[in-house]
């Protein structure tokens, strides 16, 4: 990565780790946006050439065919983008046998806004890159669904034909899941996890930078899919095969976009795992780790083990489309619901991927804001592990009515209901932490309590849906839409806002506006419940989901829901105004505005370039609030004997 040091050895500044812009024609070969301008078309040309060559050699006609070329371009163009940006420079140098050079840190940290648009190895910069990207796609995904809600305000067709409506719905769900919730936790984790465990950076900083840059690629492909000739991706975020294989070209964009997002997510998770296993500060045993670190650890295990299954499912769809294989085509020996099994074997664990880090954030905030030790610390960590294991055994509850083997229903129902136990342990532990605490209702705390409220509603409807008889009745209705938004919006998004407000002073060094933060919470909380609670009723009354038109008798409630959803959308403007204004004009926050014990709060805000001036030494639990003299970490202590991997 440190090509600055090699190609411009005369630059004295490079040794001090400062970014020196190259001059003259060097600007075109130096990693950056100018190099993208020619590397990306080059890779695109190579892609088209390869497809043409293979089709010519194999004597397949027509030699130029839209679907294979699109598929390959959606792979090679992003690779060209990454190569141009410099994502592969280090590994290309390393593997071509050039001598590796010491890291001069010229790619570490941000000195101007431009540094956020480069390959940057600083986990704090990458965290901010993630969060800003997520914010952009949160707005995009929100806009899409507001358009769809406008269509749904009245029965009949107003603005969009059903095909376009399906594309809006599909892209809304896909963006919100793969570009907002999953990576937002990666972003928050990127910023705080190395600080929390007392490490200078992630274990693989260059991989970290690369895995971030896969994300905008995925987002751009998913958004671009809306505008391709023939129509956008319209088979739902689940993109069931063989249905989606007979749909317009936009589905190819979904197919490839999800692959990029998945690759990004696996690489980040791997990085988190290695960082947490190998880079903890002296004294930081596994039972002294903050619960967010525990949560990220289990989530990353889920990502590393489950995400390959969605990659597999999308590979099959790609092969079916490009090479006309018959993995799922019943007429040719394929198994029709095979895709669903493989997809949900990822996508049910993915629900926990989208929740466990949120649980970790809530544990941090609830304990700090109640000024009490977290209740049942070890059980909180163990229940995460229980969810990790059980999460792999419940996938088929998405398929009770899909025509799968009948004997599978009851075992899956049992495991599904069983997984409520570790989740219940967590909810009751938070409540017990709140009990008789000195509760400070700051903005993060409001989000945390709002999360517990909404998540319990979503969890309870989840238990109903886990029972086969109710699922058979309520599946494919708006009841499902209500349930999924209570767990993913009232659950995950609330925890993301909670974490965002909580660590905002650490990230920017400035405090957000408390009144605007609370206003944002109340507007979102009320708007959210007004939007989604009536959907329970709509569903039980028999309104099917995934429809652009519906029976007249649902008209009144749908109009109400649409108006509420616009209110919910507008509440985001308060948030945007608050963070943009506070980023520059907020009052300085100081090191530790929450009087928290965690390591990340003992360093400057924002943290120094390399996090720590002195090595942190962990001496106790991270949650001993209200215990006189309790310390979690001390700095500059003499070195004790090294701690092994924590067993």
């Amino acid at each position: 990565m440190t090509t600055a040091h090699d190609t411009h050895e005369h630059d004295a500044h490079a040794e001090h780790g400062e970014y020196v812009p190259p001059t003259g024609w060097h600007r075109w070969t130096y990693p950056g946006w100018l190099r993208i301008l020619w590397v990306m078309p080059l890779f695109g040309g190579i892609g088209i050439g390869l497809v043409t060559l293979i089709r010519w050699a194999a004597d397949w006609h027509p030699i130029y065919k839209g679907v294979p070329i699109t598929t390959v371009l959606l792979t090679t163009l992003p690779l060209g983008f990454l190569a141009g940006l410099g994502g592969f420079d280090f590994w290309v140098r390393y593997s071509s046998g050039k001598p590796t050079i010491p890291d001069d840190h010229s790619r570490h940290g941000a000195r101007s806004w431009r540094d956020y648009f480069r390959i940057n190895t600083d986990h704090k910069v990458i965290g901010v890159q993630y969060l800003v990207t997520n914010m952009f796609f949160f707005l995009a995904g929100g806009m899409l669904i507001l358009l769809a809600r406008a269509e749904l305000a009245h029965p009949g067709t107003q603005y969009f034909n059903p095909q376009t409506f399906n594309a809006l719905m599909t892209d809304h769900a896909t963006l919100m899941i793969f570009l907002v919730i999953v990576p937002a936790f990666a972003g928050l984790g990127n910023f705080v996890i190395p600080l929390m465990i007392g490490a200078g950076d992630m274990a693989f900083p260059k991989l970290n930078a690369l895995s971030y840059w896969l994300l905008p690629i995925a987002g751009v492909e998913l958004l671009a899919g809306l505008f391709v000739p023939g129509g956008g991706p319209n088979s739902g975020w689940t993109c069931y095969a063989p249905l989606c294989e007979h749909q317009p070209l936009g589905n190819v964009f979904f197919n490839m976009g999800v692959q990029w997002a998945g690759a990004s997510s696996i690489m980040t998770a791997l990085n988190f795992l290695v960082t947490i296993i190998t880079m903890r500060a002296p004294g930081m045993t596994f039972w002294r780790m903050p619960l967010l670190v525990w949560a990220n650890f289990t989530t990353s295990m889920l990502v590393v083990l489950a995400t390959p299954f969605i990659a597999g499912s999308q590979f099959f769809v790609m092969f079916d489309r490009v090479m006309h294989t018959n993995f799922f085509e019943a007429g040719n020996g394929g198994y029709v619901i095979g895709y669903q099994h493989i997809f949900w074997f990822y996508s049910h664990p993915a629900v926990y991927i989208m929740l466990l880090p949120g649980f970790g954030i809530i544990s941090e905030v609830v304990s700090v804001m109640s000024r009490k030790p977290i209740f049942g610390y070890r059980l909180m960590a163990l229940s995460l592990l229980a969810i990790l294991v059980l999460g792999f055994s419940v996938w088929a509850h998405h398929m009770f009515i899909a025509g799968m083997a009948g004997w599978l229903r009851v075992p899956i129902m049992v495991t599904t209901l069983l997984i409520a136990v570790p989740t219940g342990i967590k909810v009751f532990s938070w409540l017990a932490t709140l009990w008789e605490g000195r509760i400070h209702f700051t903005t993060p705390m409001l989000w945390a309590v709002g999360f517990i409220f909404c998540f319990v509603i979503g969890g309870l409807s989840g238990i109903w849906l886990g029972a086969v008889p109710i699922d058979v009745q309520a599946n494919q209705s708006y009841f499902i839409v209500a349930h999924i938004h209570y767990v993913l919006f009232g659950g995950s998004i609330f925890t993301i806002f909670c974490g965002f407000y909580y660590w905002f002073p650490k990230m920017t060094g400035r405090m957000y506006n408390e009144r605007l933060g609370q206003l944002h919470f109340w507007l979102t909380f009320i708007g959210f419940n007004l939007t989604f609670f009536p959907m329970h009723y709509l569903g039980l009354q028999g309104m099917p989901r995934r429809v652009a038109d519906y029976a007249n008798r649902f008209g009144g409630i749908n109009e109400f829901v649409s108006i509420a959803s616009f209110g919910l959308g507008a509440s985001t403007l308060v948030f945007l105004y608050n963070i943009v204004w506070s980023w520059h004009h907020g009052p300085p926050a100081g090191r530790n505005p929450w009087r928290a014990l965690g390591i990340e709060w003992q360093v400057d805000s924002p943290p120094p370039l390399f996090n720590f001036e002195e090595e942190p030494q962990v001496v106790g639990s991270p949650y001993e609030y209200g215990v006189p003299g309790a310390r979690h970490v001390i700095f500059g202590a003499p070195q004790p004997e090294p701690v092994s991997a924590g067993h």
Binding site: G97, D103, G200, F315, E329, P608, A645
Partner: protein
């Protein structure tokens, strides 16, 4: 890396240069990383085995392979022996550099690369002469799916091996620093073991 930063000898630690890294595990991060990555890879293969299981067992496809397709069991068996041999030569290369034997490292790397390349070329020729195409029933889909996925891994493995071979001829690696060989070797062994499972499933069963 940190040694380089220390060499500056000025400025505040944490602001101008990082502190030396404290490792909480005896195993190096790179090795932990490659094993986790292999876990991920096993799951990717798992999804392909799952679809194979669905198309063959759950779907009650009899006979397997469907008439009139024939699997080249013998050629693939010889190919299996070639790939298994390459695991031993890889091991030889790794042991050699640990003992500081550069000639052994170089010979081991070259042999491993050539054996792997032979395997891949045999596979390509086999595809060419096999008598069915990707679009022929789900049997062909799972056959090309599993062997093709494995072939891609052989290709990636060969790319790594080639790079490491070049580096071993440029005098890199020492008994103390040979992560490149070690990681490439672990990956290559994984590719080999996975082939044995693929061979048994796709060709023999």
């Amino acid at each position: 890396m940190s040694a380089h930063a220390e060499a500056h000898g000025h400025g505040r630690p944490g602001y101008d240069h990082p502190l030396p890294i404290h490792f909480s595990s005896r195993i190096s991060p790179v090795i932990v990383g490659i094993f986790l990555f292999i876990g991920s890879e096993i799951m990717l293969f798992g999804s392909f085995f799952t679809v194979y299981f669905f198309d063959r067992v759950v779907n009650h496809t009899h006979p397997w392979p469907p008439h009139p397709y024939v699997r080249p069991v013998f050629v693939a068996g010889v190919n299996t022996l070639i790939l298994v041999t390459s695991s031993f030569t890889m091991h030889w290369a790794t042991v050699s550099i640990k003992r500081g034997n550069r000639a052994g490292l170089q010979a081991g790397m070259v042999l491993t690369f050539l054996l792997g390349l032979t395997f891949l070329l045999t596979q390509v020729i086999e595809y060419h002469r096999i008598g069915f195409n990707t679009s022929d029933t789900s049997f062909a889909a799972t056959f090309f799916g599993l062997t093709g996925l494995h072939g891609c891994h052989v290709f990636v493995g060969l790319t790594i091996l080639l790079a490491m071979t070049i580096r071993s001829f440029r005098g890199h690696f020492s008994p103390e620093h040979h992560h490149g060989i070690e990681v490439g070797g672990i990956y290559w062994h994984f590719v080999d073991v996975m082939w044995i499972i693929v061979y048994v499933t796709v060709y023999l069963l």
